[in-house]
């Protein structure tokens, strides 16, 4: 039965994730449209729901352009290297409680969260390959930015996850979900803020979308890509966004757990709802904020997120020593600490001065 399970879930992930990604692309475009006083795509199908399909057909039939002076092999492989890890993230997401009908591919992998952190940083290599293979200066600058960004933001991201692991006492995602009698977003608000910001940066979403900053880098690393290769980048970007939303939902929002005990049988639906919620917040931020500059980006990671994530771990560790099992009333001091720290720390550090004498 084991191989059947594997086959089934590989099929589900490979099928469901792109479909979900297309749905989310539609959602983002419609949502962003509404936020910007316009209807968004509304011509293809009812409410423009077939727009992603139309885009897919367009992209599939487009000519594939390869820069003559580029590195052809690297240029060819890069989209795959970016796309694969985005799919791999979904393998360890638990869809439902153990023993349920749909539970995910390997939801109880005992190093689940470590696996996610490891896998998700592979895509940066793909980004750099794409930039290198394109032989384009814009791409290269964008790839440099991307590398620096990922190296800086992995640390607060991992440290924020560490807080969750400390509280749950396990790295298995199923275990983490089960440990959330009260969702960790309430118990560790500081950890969630840090995780969310760092994840946004990892995803290259506004306000940290420096590597494909349209007004500066035009399209960044995929400036020389067209046709299906470009589509892979595009899909990977959204798949990764959905993936991170799923991780955030699992780690901090209680995953498949039904809030107030409503409909525990359909845990996977609750998971989707929570993913949607996180995704909408990311979208909302994208529709509102301007972009930070590259030195400010680094400064923000090292001067704001990094110290706060250390403090966060310290607090969680001390609390789990003092009150094993972390009783629910800790949410009051934790929220207070988070608020105070954010307010105080935001006045304490300075962001990049900017001008260099030349």
């Amino acid at each position: 039965m084991d191989w059947l399970h594997w086959l089934f879930y590989v099929g589900v992930i490979l099928g469901a994730v792109p479909v979900m990604v297309m749905a989310f692309i539609w959602l983002e475009r419609r949502g962003l449209g509404r936020l910007q006083l316009r209807p968004g795509p509304n011509r293809a199908g009812p409410f423009g729901i077939l727009q992603p399909v139309a885009d897919a057909i367009k992209v599939l039939t487009k000519e594939d352009i390869v820069p003559v002076a580029g590195d052809h092999w690297v240029h060819f492989v890069a989209p795959l290297v970016v796309f694969a890890p985005a799919m791999l993230v979904f393998t360890v997401i638990p869809f439902q409680e153990d023993g349920g009908l749909v539970r995910g591919l390997v939801p109880d992998l005992n190093i689940g969260i470590l696996y996610i952190v490891a896998v998700s940083s592979i895509s940066t290599i793909g980004v750099f390959m794409a930039a290198w293979g394109s032989n384009n200066k814009y791409s290269l600058i964008s790839a440099f930015r991307s590398m620096a960004q990922v190296v800086s933001y992995e640390i607060p991201l991992a440290l924020a996850i560490l807080g969750v692991v400390l509280a749950a006492g396990t790295m298995s995602l199923t275990g983490i979900v089960q440990a959330q009698a009260v969702p960790f977003i309430v118990m560790q608000p500081l950890g969630f803020i840090i995780f969310f910001i760092a994840a946004t940066a990892e995803l290259n979403r506004t306000p940290f979308d420096l590597m494909e900053a349209e007004s500066e880098m035009v399209a960044g690393y995929h400036i020389e890509y067209s046709g299906m290769k470009f589509a892979l980048f595009y899909l990977a970007e959204y798949a990764y966004t959905v993936g991170i939303s799923a991780i955030a939902a699992t780690l901090f929002l209680g995953g498949w757990k039904a809030p107030w005990g409503v409909g525990p049988q359909v845990g996977v639906l609750w998971l989707v709802v929570k993913i949607l919620l996180v995704f909408m917040v990311i979208l909302w931020i994208r529709g509102t904020f301007p972009r930070v500059r590259v030195d400010q980006l680094m400064g923000f990671a090292w001067k704001f997120l990094f110290p706060l994530s250390l403090i966060n771990i310290f607090i969680i560790a001390a609390e789990s020593l003092a009150w094993p099992g972390l009783p629910w009333w800790l949410l009051f001091p934790n929220t207070a600490i988070a608020l105070v720290l954010v307010v105080v720390w935001s006045g304490l550090f300075r962001l990049g001065g900017g001008r260099v004498q030349v």
Binding site: P39, G287, R350
Partner: protein
């Protein structure tokens, strides 16, 4: 040198506004081919409307044209005490629809049109002879520089009043 000294208050204010917009959906977009707006009464649409009866062939319009896109020729002899306009060619591809010819016409024989879907596949198709310049059902004159016509035309759709559809 900048600090985040307002601890995210400014960020929150912006989010509040966009969130409000997201929920209130004040859609002002017009779905163009299906929905249309009432155009301005003085619209300078991309076409000229010529009234053969009023035209005396004085060529004031041709002289006033900055682009030289009007070509006009009259008959050599008087017909009914009037020179007959033999040729009246307007190159709509060169014309920039500034309306100076309409303004200059001393006999109200030339109008700007109210149509706006006048694209053509070839440049040559935009050079219109006098037969095609005449007023017809889909070639209606606008009140540009003809204030006496203004009252007859429908009122323009104005976004200031929140209108986004043509009145039927």
């Amino acid at each position: 040198m900048s600090k985040f000294d307002r601890f995210g208050l400014g960020l929150a204010k912006g989010l509040a506004l966009t969130g409000k917009t997201l929920l209130s959906r004040p859609n002002i977009t017009v779905q163009y081919p299906e929905q249309r707006l009432d155009v301005s009464r003085r619209l300078r649409g991309p076409e000229l409307v010529w009234v053969a009866l009023k035209c005396t062939g004085c060529a004031t319009c041709a002289k006033s044209c900055p682009q030289g896109s009007i070509e006009l020729a009259t008959s050599q002899e008087l017909v009914d005490n009037k020179y007959e306009v033999v040729e009246f060619l307007v190159d709509h591809g060169r014309c920039m629809f500034c309306g100076l010819c309409v303004e200059a016409c001393p006999f109200d024989a030339l109008y700007m049109g109210r149509g706006y879907e006048r694209a053509a596949y070839r440049r040559g198709d935009l050079v219109l002879p006098k037969e095609k310049l005449q007023m017809s059902a889909d070639r209606q004159p606008s009140a540009y520089c003809r204030p006496e016509m203004e009252a007859e035309l429908p009122l323009q759709t104005l976004l200031v009043y929140g209108q986004t559809r043509a009145k039927r």
